[in-house]
């Protein structure tokens, strides 16, 4: 997918002006947050699970090559095949080849974020295949020709009327007279359209929430059942997965499953959690004759070597998006690529490369809510700061920011001067405010005060107060 992450500022500005988007984001944001809170209130084991989950992933990442090899052996002994892709292009080529070898015309897709990451749909379409997304949210945005705006709720930015309009445009065979005003009507129509697609598809492509080294299995977690239909009805099943999806055993995956849905939708468990192992067996009447797993690296092995390794613990639950004030204001599309929110602001610059998404790690107040809710204890604010640090080292910040920091550093190194300047500054601001308590505009900070007032300083600086208090303390007997 073509990225617009480099123009985050323009994207965000457009998003902030979109009233419909604001309504959708407010609604979704509070829903996800409340449901997660309620689910965790019934889970006294949360902290111990979180600790165990972290240990499982850290252990697996430390032995990643060994577990991947074990996984490969086990897939093969179950009758499946494993394919390795260094980057998006290689992954696309593998999938296109597998679809050709299967003699396929139609491909049914379950939701896959790594599929979005490697741009599998355009690659397959270009190679002449009909590709249909089967997750309802993904199907809606496929009709709208948009990328997902949330990693677990791809069409969260669309309202009912917008979806009805898309269905009327694309499902014209059902006639203009039919009612499409209610959610059941919309869901039923999608069910009817997509059911035929499942039955007609030659290849089913799904993602994987976990890969099990011990058994060579892929675990897929859904609510709709579309992943299962995609994996069961077509004659070939292709699983796309990042190399970071692996865990040693089903017991390890169980710990992560106890955290995943609760953190994502607030459900204790989703409607469907399926363990797929190899192709159909001799005794099976349904199921694919071919089972392929495409292991995608795409920058992950490099992350393993550096300070971003902890990001590889991510299980893509979306809790950090749901709790992020920036995501809540601008939505997913502003981030310009596949992964939005805090996890996206860490991943996107790593996957797209230096200078391609510099604004994302800066679009954060570092409030730390993301780290607080992350079931995998990923220190997202620290990783965002690491990106900022790297930008600083390659002098990628705007000249104004660099200049301002340089001036501040000069001051900060001279404590006496610093105190004097700060004292003067606060006195000056207090004076401009003339007792009103706030400032409508401040010289050199027009962008900041354009959308809010600056509270005016109310008295002496902290250091002045500290010095005064210390003096009075000393005078006490």
């Amino acid at each position: 997918m073509k990225s617009t992450a480099h123009q985050f500022v323009a994207n965000a500005r457009a998003a902030l002006a979109d009233e419909q988007l604001k309504v959708a984001l407010d609604h979704a944001g509070t829903g996800f947050v409340d449901k997660r809170r309620a689910a965790l209130a019934e889970l006294p084991e949360f902290e111990s699970l979180r600790q165990a989950a972290r240990e499982i992933k850290d252990h697996t990442l430390a032995q990643l090559d060994h577990y991947l090899l074990r996984f490969e052996r086990q897939v093969q002994s179950a009758g499946g095949q494993v394919h390795w892709a260094r980057d998006s292009e290689e992954a696309q080529q593998i999938v296109v080849r597998l679809c050709r070898e299967a003699g396929a015309a139609r491909v049914a897709k379950g939701k896959s974020m790594v599929g979005e990451e490697i741009g599998i749909n355009p690659a397959l379409e270009q190679a002449g295949f009909d590709v249909i997304e089967t997750d309802l949210g993904e199907y809606i945005i496929q009709l709208a020709d948009e990328p997902p705006s949330h990693i677990i709720a791809p069409a969260v930015h669309k309202n009912r009327a917008q979806i009805a309009a898309l269905f009327r445009e694309h499902h014209s065979r059902y006639g203009p007279e039919r009612p499409l005003d209610t959610i059941p009507e919309l869901v039923d129509e999608a069910r009817q359209v997509l059911r035929q697609q499942f039955l007609d598809a030659d290849v089913g492509i799904t993602g994987a929430n976990f890969l099990i080294a011990d058994s060579g299995s892929a675990i897929i977690v859904t609510n709709e059942g579309n992943g299962d239909l995609s994996a069961t009805l077509p004659r070939s099943h292709i699983v796309l997965a990042g190399i970071d999806k692996i865990v040693p055993t089903l017991e390890d995956a169980t710990v992560l499953l106890r955290l995943l849905a609760r953190s994502a939708t607030g459900q204790p468990f989703t409607a469907y959690t399926t363990v797929f192992t190899g192709p159909k067996r001799a005794e099976d009447s349904a199921g694919p004759a071919q089972f392929h797993v495409v292991l995608v690296d795409n920058g992950r092995s490099e992350m393993l070597a550096g300070p971003f390794r902890e990001m590889l613990r991510c299980i893509r639950c979306g809790a950090c998006l749901n709790h992020c004030p920036v995501y809540g204001a601008v939505g997913g599309h502003a981030y310009g690529w596949v992964y939005p929110g805090p996890m996206g602001a860490v991943l996107t610059p790593l996957m797209l490369g230096e200078g391609q998404a510099d604004d994302l790690p800066n679009a954060s107040t570092l409030c730390g809510r993301c780290e607080q809710v992350c079931p995998m204890s990923i220190p997202l604010p620290q990783l965002l700061r690491e990106h900022r640090h790297r930008q600083h080292l390659r002098k990628a910040e705007p000249a104004r920011a660099r200049w301002a920091i340089a001036v501040w550093a000069q001051l900060a190194k001279r404590p006496r001067l610093y105190r004097k300047v700060m004292g003067l500054g606060t006195a000056l601001l207090a004076r401009i405010a003339r007792g009103r308590g706030r400032l409508r505009s401040v010289p050199l900070a027009g962008a900041w005060t354009a959308s809010r007032d600056l509270p005016a300083p109310q008295g002496p600086t902290f250091l002045q107060q500290w010095a005064a208090r210390r003096d009075t303390d000393k005078e006490r007997p």
Binding site: E45, S48, L49, A53, A153, D228, R258, A271, R281
Partner: protein
Amino acid sequence: MSDARSTILSRIAAAHGRPPEADAPEEVSRRLRERPMGPQLHWQDSDRERFLARLHAASATVDRVADLGDAAAALEDYLNRERLEDPAVLAPHPLLHELPLPGALRRALSGDDRTAVTVAFAGVAETGSLALLSGSDTPTAYNFLPEHLVCVLEAKRIVANLEDLWARIRAERGTLPRTVNLVTGPSRTADVEQTIQLGAHGPRRLHVLLLEGEA
């Protein structure tokens, strides 16, 4: 292709400062052998009560029946209640061979059949899930194609948590079948305005016939 494989593996090895294709250390083989378990959930009620409570919370319905005769009657009631005029299609499971339901169809399931009956390998109290295993007597398509999925579960096959389920599958089957479906309530979506709607692609209703038997 094998190029990609060796590149990825050597990058991973290099990230850990070890030579490529080193032998797996003992901790890896030990973990795979011993399969240590993480923290488990605890509850006050019996496993059966927990299972039924979770099942209910997931919008599934249940009839508790004493034997196969009762099960057939309960199924008939269900079909009437739901105004399902077409007969149910039964999975070719030995337990269902003995189900005294003269009207039921015993043939391969088609995409147009509205009601299917299958048999669960186990129930999981922790999550209220039915564990449905693929195989000749319980084909996976039954779990997803019909609008109404009716599932027979023997009460003695309720296990406490997911770890118990994995152990039971290994003990009874040896290896994993092609699919293990953990089904927790009917199919649902919240992709339109975050509002939960049942019956997205899979069954709109999930009805469990809990066979109490002598257990």
